[in-house]
Subunit: 132 residues, 2 copies
């Protein structure tokens, strides 16, 4: 994560996304979504429907089903109006979990578009390095 | 992709990575690896061994097994010494393929560290938006 060359706008965009991780994803708080995400945001994740309502439903579901879930941010980047976050989802304490990268586009101080890629972490690997 | 606020170093880092996509990944050219990737680079992909030799072996394998494979770059970003690329791998022309995000750390003009997340694209989705 490099911060020395970030513009004030980039700093604000990165802060918005990291605050969203804390207050929406890790808090699993559907009621906090509207503070961070535009109602008509463009969702590219292929597992949920478009717009904020399916996201709110998903947050309520995971809060009920996996109340110990964590979104553990490993690194984050900002380039203009885009913010990229690489993180480890664990649904329960000993879950191997998923490696995820989210890409967000920010517009008018809210998340306006979202892409992600998600991969199950393997039990074993030929590579001694961590996935993170 | 925002370029207006990029430093000269960021522009060079982004160019290195996009040239690597053309000349190594899309060319499937194991002999070009050393022009872009440090011999002792830190590989975090969990499917291959560390260092450049397993990568060269993989390139030779995919060139033989899937000679029509393409790495179709959808968007790319740079933040200081890190470059992020979101792309679509298709192994053959009608392959649904994978969505991938690569994160590269650049040091001394070469790729020094690499993380990635890879996901099979689904045949159908509740979301009418493209994965890209």
């Amino acid at each position: 994560m490099s911060t020395d060359a970030h513009t004030p706008e980039e700093k604000a965009n990165l802060r918005l996304v990291l605050d969203m991780f804390d207050q929406v994803l890790n808090a699993m708080d559907a009621d906090a979504v509207d503070r961070f995400i535009a109602p008509d945001y463009i969702q590219h994740n292929q597992s949920v429907g478009p717009g904020v309502e399916p996201l709110k439903d998903l947050l309520r579901f995971i809060k009920k089903e996996t109340p110990q879930a964590v979104h553990d941010v490993k690194r984050s980047f900002v380039d203009g109006d885009h913010v990229i976050v690489h993180y480890h989802v664990r649904r329960w304490p000993d879950d191997l979990g998923w490696a995820v990268v989210d890409i967000f586009r920010i517009e008018n101080g809210l998340i306006a578009e979202h892409w992600d890629v998600l991969q199950n972490l393997p039990e074993s690997s030929p590579n001694p390095n961590s996935p993170f």
